[in-house]
């Protein structure tokens, strides 16, 4: 019958091909079903009115897609006119696959001579095929995005860093809900407990390098290295009394400034001074000497925060009298 060539974005697919040697169906008549061209049954699933001109002109359409906003279902159909040869006259000539190119050329040549004819059956078929193909890719795209979003979401929720103490802000009560503290606490807990900070920091540096010239470098960060610059931490304490020697930096991490005692009695309003010699320490205000040795008298202190005005803290130590 007819060579209906549907091209989806350049890819040729033949729906009905009379080159396979099968007896070509009769030309479609009005009311005939495309699914079964030989059937005159108007109750077929797809029953279309075909504009069947005596000269057998049909038109097939080339589909083009618009990318800009896929979500807008942008499909543009541009019509091309192709006339297809008579069914019976052509069947013998086109049985040879090598004549396909000549066929195509003949079809195009005929199309240029004939009037434009819109075949609603062809239009409907192509529309259905396009919709199916588009929906298939929509589904794939949705699956990819949805899996990614759910994966990231679950990673952020279940792989918490647990470094942020959120128990204080997340007491579920009418009061906390009314004031908004509960929801604010949830938000803070979510953001502060997000995992993989180092990986994200490295990713940020990579992005910066892609966006332009940046001075940022990938840095290996270890917990024992003291950070540069002033740091808000729990330790303060002037450990040096020797003017010739520079005071030790109090902006170090906790692990580097521990002092432990055997008594364990600690009060936090005593200034610890560095002794002039290795074995004596003097209490700043009373002057009482305190004998300490590194092996016997070590005190674990949690010194108060260093402030902007001072880098020293005040700690009370009750130590056994050594006199």
């Amino acid at each position: 019958m007819n060579d209906l060539n549907f091209r989806f974005s350049g890819k040729a697919e033949k729906i009905f091909d009379k080159n396979d040697g099968v007896n070509s169906p009769e030309p479609l008549t009005e009311g005939a079903s495309l699914l079964n061209p030989e059937s005159d049954d108007a109750n077929e699933a797809v029953s279309l009115e075909v504009n069947n001109k005596t000269d057998g002109d049909f038109e097939s359409e080339v589909l083009q897609t618009e990318q800009a906003d896929v979500s807008d279902n942008a499909f543009e159909e541009t019509a091309e006119t192709e006339s297809l040869p008579e069914a019976e006259g052509e069947s013998a000539e086109n049985s040879d696959n090598g004549n396909t190119d000549e066929n195509t050329a003949a079809i195009i040549a005929d199309a240029n001579r004939q009037e434009e004819v819109v075949n609603p059956a062809d239009t409907l078929l192509e529309g259905l095929a396009d919709t199916t193909q588009k929906e298939k890719f929509d589904f794939i795209n949705l699956c990819v995005m949805a899996i990614l979003v759910l994966l990231i979401g679950m990673t952020f929720i279940f792989m918490k860093q647990a470094s942020y103490d959120d128990s204080q802000n997340q007491k579920l009560s009418f009061e906390t809900i009314k004031t908004g503290e509960y929801t604010t606490g949830l938000s803070e807990s979510y953001t502060k407990n997000m995992p993989m900070p180092k990986i994200m920091a490295q990713a940020d540096v990579l992005l910066r390098k892609l966006f332009g010239k940046t001075k940022l470098e990938f840095v290996k960060f270890t917990s024992t290295e003291p950070p540069d610059g002033p740091v808000d931490n729990d330790i303060g304490g002037d450990l040096s009394m020797n003017d010739d020697e520079p005071a030790e930096s109090t902006s170090a991490v906790t692990t580097t400034t521990e002092i432990t005692t055997t008594t364990g009695k600690i009060k936090q309003d005593f200034i610890v001074t560095v002794p002039e010699d290795d074995n004596t320490q003097s209490e700043l205000f009373t002057g009482r000497p305190i004998k300490t040795t590194t092996s016997k008298t070590t005190t674990t202190l949690k010194l108060p925060k260093a402030t902007d005005e001072t880098t020293t803290g005040k700690v009370n130590l009750i130590l056994p009298e050594t006199n």
Binding site: G10, N141, I152, K178, L207, G212
Partner: protein, 458 residues
């Protein structure tokens, strides 16, 4: 909570979408939408919900009044509704005016903490006015089901930059809508694109704006780059949040109007002015501008509409003057050039439209003549601290890829070229290649957003 929060994107949104899929009925989806909207608005500020429900109730009652057969009752209902919503807008959305140093300082008792200010209250009040005015004009039937009105008013899709959704646009979809894989896919894709615009692109221009427009140490390059940064920041923020709003709506089965269109300057100032936040401008113009034959009345109402648009964007001299400046040319073009428009070369139209729109948009930034004068002189190289400074150069060097991309992507000629390129790719390599590349691009945007948003909060 806002759309760009990690908690919203990776926790709140997936939960609401999944919950809404459990049933196909619109009533169920509306219920999930209302509950999630209440949670969204009350996040950190739960007292706000009381205000929102109170105003919905008033809009419902005024809507009933606006549908009355008695003209007086209809008119009074509309007037009261407009007064109520404008009052809510001024008190809540422009609360800074009541603080110390504000224009309404004498009413300082109306100044309160940010915790009591609802998110997106501006567009919320617009929706209230829209509903009652459409009932008044007979464009839509009065809503006798308060739950449908609550769904329309409280929907968290439409909070930040619109689009302005008229009640007649969504009446049908509130009662029946289809939400399938295609809708969720198109909505999610659009939402992710919006995230990229708002979180990856816009902050770069913001940094450029803050660094360049430093009036104490302004340089020539800083003045020009800073203004590019200002325009780029507001454009990409607006584009991003609009995409997110439309994407969220689509995931719930709603189809909203486009709020940002390409700036096709060859079509004249009128069309170009409507390209940015066109739903708001169109809504105000629909209600204010005279549509009859009286040219003088058209001119006056047109300028009044421009002034109101300026006041919407900010209670400052810059915004009002900039809006009126553009409005004058829109009105003049309509009255004087409409019949001769086709005879004017498109290049001429493009040049004068670009110049006027740029001047008007730049005016939005300046809240004093001193700053405007200083900026103009700086652009000409006078009174500056040099041609450029390190901070501006650092930002340009560190982000030149994004800056160039942001400028080019805003030009219609480039976006049209990309569309044609995609059609060619589809034609030559197949539709599947095009779709796969789009999926890859969307995935990249999502990853970039995640990294940027993560490092912003950490």
């Amino acid at each position: 909570m806002i759309y760009t929060d990690l908690l919203f994107v990776f926790a709140f949104l997936p939960v609401t979408i999944i919950l809404s899929l459990f049933d196909r009925s619109a009533e169920y989806k509306n219920l999930i939408l209302v509950v999630s909207s209440v949670v969204f608005f009350s996040w950190g500020r739960p007292i706000i919900v009381v205000l929102l429900f109170a105003t919905v109730l008033m809009d419902f009652l005024f809507g009933l009044g606006a549908s009355n057969k008695n003209k007086l009752i209809r008119g009074v209902s509309l007037a009261l509704d407009i007064m109520m919503n404008v009052g809510v807008f001024v008190v809540f959305a422009r609360n800074y005016l009541f603080a110390d140093g504000g224009a309404f300082e004498r009413f300082g008792f109306l100044s309160f903490s940010e915790k009591l200010i609802p998110i997106g209250i501006g567009y919320y009040t617009i929706r209230g006015i829209s509903y009652v005015s459409e009932v008044f004009r007979g464009r839509t039937e009065v809503e006798k089901n308060p739950f449908c009105l609550i769904t329309y008013m409280l929907s968290f899709h439409l909070m930040f930059v619109g689009p302005v959704v008229r009640y007649s646009d969504v009446t049908g979809e509130i009662r029946w809508r289809k939400v399938g894989a295609s809708e969720i896919n198109s909505g999610l894709t659009r939402f992710i694109k919006g995230l990229g615009k708002a979180v990856v692109l816009a902050p770069v221009f913001e940094k450029l704006m803050d660094s360049g427009l430093d009036f104490e140490n302004m340089t020539t390059l800083g003045a020009v780059a800073g203004m590019v940064g200002f325009l780029g920041y507001y454009y990409w923020s607006f584009a991003g949040f609009t995409d997110m709003a439309i994407g969220l709506g689509r995931m719930n089965g709603f189809h909203y109007r486009e709020n940002l269109k390409p700036f096709r300057v060859t079509e004249g100032i009128g069309n170009t002015a409507y390209a940015f936040n066109g739903t708001l401008t169109g809504f105000l113009a629909d209600g204010i501008v005279h549509k009859g034959d009286k040219k003088w009345l058209y001119a006056i109402t047109g300028l009044l509409c421009s002034a109101i648009v300026g006041l919407w964007y900010g209670f400052s001299k810059g915004t009002v003057c900039g809006a009126i400046f553009i409005g004058v040319f829109v009105v003049a073009e309509k009255l004087l050039l409409e019949k001769r428009f086709e005879k004017i070369p498109k290049a001429v139209i493009g040049i004068y439209t670009t110049a006027i729109m740029l001047v008007g948009a730049c005016a939005f930034y300046f809240d004093s003549l001193w700053k405007l004068k200083k900026w103009v002189f700086a652009c000409l190289g006078k009174g500056t601290a040099g041609f450029s400074d390190d901070s501006v150069m650092e930002i340009i060097k560190g982000n030149y890829v994004l800056i160039i991309f942001g400028i080019l992507a805003a030009l219609p000629i480039v976006t049209d070229g990309v569309k044609k390129l995609c059609a060619v790719v589809s034609e030559k390599f197949g539709y599947s290649v095009l779709r796969v590349s789009q999926t890859v691009c969307t995935t990249i945007i999502l990853c970039m957003y995640t990294v940027e948003a993560y490092n912003l909060v950490k």
